[in-house]
């Protein structure tokens, strides 16, 4: 609407509720939109439709029994969540993880990161209307799931990374499967590039929409690809290296304008970097055991820890308080999806309704993690 016309016609704001059942909200999220015509005036995410009380449940389980819940928090990257939880408990109980286990953990976490980013690409493609774009990443993700399936028998909820190490050593077959996958990954990413990245309509939808500046991103406390797309170089794998990440050479892809396009490109580039890490870790896999000596009944000493790990969506932090018994006194989880979702209002204001869907998609929230 041009300036002149909008002065003559008085417009009125109205409310629109998107969700909780909506194909593009990635689960059960409700977004309360205030609209003026097609322009978004305000977008408020309304959460809690998947609140499962995980933090409370963990208080009534012992440290080992908490593992299944961390799997089901961010269900598309369960390895990364287990990893984060185990690191926190290990720090609390002062356990030393053998180096081989550290390497295996890195391999699995990075593979899961790739799988998670594939889901991102698939769902982004569906959300902008390119349904075929979903089929390819989902097909390729199956290769990673096959590896995990061979490793621990589960496709999504692994509990493979355990307190003190990992469940079992890598078999020859698993190593072969990972090598084959790494060989094919480059061609897979090229295929997504052909399908999506070069597509003009796709570019129009993503470029220069939902811009977040570096300053705003820091103020909102964004982490992970969301933050790096705005040009802030912050990656816990580099800045606070854990579990032997310092042994590997990799780049941290950065965006510069902080729009949807950058968030997409950053994740695309991250997949190649993850593959690079997996390759190095496989080649340099040290010998030794994969499990530390962990007591059958784990009673960490009194105290509290806060340990952060870089997940596919950002900083996964576990704050665990122990009172010296077999059960944690309190577990608080810093879920990156929840905090990244707070940027939604900023990302939607002034843009069109159609852009809300794309903004939601590039935040890439997992509702299990948002509501916890």
């Amino acid at each position: 609407m041009t300036e002149a016309v909008s002065k003559v016609i008085r417009t009125e704001e109205y409310q629109l509720s998107m969700g909780p059942v909506h194909p593009s909200t990635h689960g059960v999220l409700q977004i309360l939109l205030t609209l003026d015509g097609e322009r978004v005036v305000k977008a408020v995410p309304c959460m809690g439709y998947l609140h499962r009380g995980i933090e409370k449940l963990m208080e009534s389980r012992n440290y080992f029994q908490c593992m299944p819940y961390t799997d089901r928090l961010d269900y598309v990257s369960a390895m990364n969540n287990d990893f984060a939880y185990c690191r926190a408990v290990e720090k609390l109980a002062q356990l030393e993880v053998p180096e081989r286990a550290q390497y295996i953990r890195v391999i699995m976490a990075e593979l899961n990161r790739i799988a998670s980013h594939m889901i991102f690409i698939g769902s982004l493609a569906v959300d902008v209307g390119a349904t075929t774009g979903m089929i390819y990443p989902f097909r390729d993700r199956e290769c990673i799931l096959d590896i995990f399936n061979e490793l621990c028998g589960a496709r999504m909820t692994y509990s493979y990374i355990r307190i003190g190490g990992v469940k079992s050593d890598l078999s020859v077959k698993v190593i072969d499967m990972i090598n084959v996958f790494l060989k094919n990954l480059s061609a897979m990413i090229d295929e997504y590039n052909d399908l999506l990245t070069g597509n003009e309509i796709f570019q129009h939808r993503l470029k220069n929409t939902s811009v977040i500046t570096a300053e705003q991103a820091l103020q909102l406390g964004l982490t992970g690809p969301m933050l790096r797309a705005s040009g802030v170089n912050y990656d816990l794998r580099k800045d606070n290296a854990y579990s032997s990440y310092e042994d590997f050479i990799f780049d941290v892809p950065l965006g510069n304008s902080g729009d949807n396009w950058d968030r997409y490109i950053v994740r695309m580039k991250e997949m190649r970097q993850s593959a690079k890490i997996v390759k190095q870790a496989l080649d340099g896999l040290p010998e030794g055991s994969v499990m530390a000596k962990v007591p059958k009944v784990l009673r960490p000493p009194k105290g509290e820890v806060y340990v952060t790990t870089e997940g596919p969506r950002g900083e996964v932090g576990y704050h665990i308080i122990s009172d010296g018994t077999v059960k944690p006194y309190r577990v608080h989880i810093r879920r990156p999806s929840l905090i990244n979702l707070q940027a939604l209002d900023l990302m939607c204001r002034g843009y069109l309704v159609g852009d809300v869907v794309v903004a939601m998609s590039t935040i890439d929230p997992i509702l299990g993690e948002v509501d916890c």
Binding site: P20, V21, H22, P23, G27, V28, G48, Y49, L50, H51, R52, G53, I54, K56, L57, S60, P68, Y69, R72, Y75, V76, I119, G122, M134, I135, Y136, F138, R139, R141, E142, R155, M156, T157, L367, G368
Partner: protein, 166 residues
């Protein structure tokens, strides 16, 4: 005299005799239109089932609808919370008859790992009637396909279904 006997000899090879009921059952069971209602983890497996590798389209069930008014199968995949229960019930009520419900995953069956949480409905059958339960956490895509084939059985031969005593 049977109806089939009344068909003239020349047409015997070309005419099928059935009841209207049988025809509807046949049509319904071969093209279920599921309503996508992914609630949590299990929804990802549901998407995998529809994607390239498991390819639900082979069975004719791939037309995932986003509107309850266009669907006849309610595929509840994931954890149902008390906050989500009213919208879910409303979705079910908006679906036109005949309609079927599949509960996918332990959470939808009985609350799964969250059965003792204060916010989780211990099984969607507390809210809506369920036709087929698929166990697993999450059920593998093969299990979902099997569940849908079980539903097909049920639609075709309702008389064979055992009633579960609750």
């Amino acid at each position: 005299m049977e109806i089939a006997d009344r068909v003239p000899q020349v047409l015997r090879d070309n005419v099928l005799i059935t009841s209207i009921d049988g025809l509807f059952k046949w049509a319904r069971s071969n093209s279920l239109w599921p309503l996508t209602s992914g609630l949590s983890c299990c929804a990802i497996e549901m998407m995998c089932t529809a994607a390239a590798r498991f390819d639900l389209a082979r069975f004719g069930y791939e037309v995932f609808r986003n509107s309850p008014r266009q669907a006849d199968l309610f595929l509840v995949a994931g954890t149902l919370t008390w906050k989500m229960a009213p919208p879910l019930k409303r979705l079910y009520e908006q679906m036109p008859e005949p309609k079927y419900v599949i509960a996918m995953g332990s959470c939808a069956n009985a609350g799964g790992p969250f059965a003792d949480a204060y916010s989780v409905v211990p099984g969607i059958d507390k809210i809506i009637p369920v036709d087929v339960y698929i166990p697993g956490c999450p059920p593998r895509p093969e299990a979902l396909i099997d569940g849908m084939l079980k539903l097909k059985e049920k639609i075709r031969h309702p008389e064979n279904v055992q009633k579960v005593q609750k």
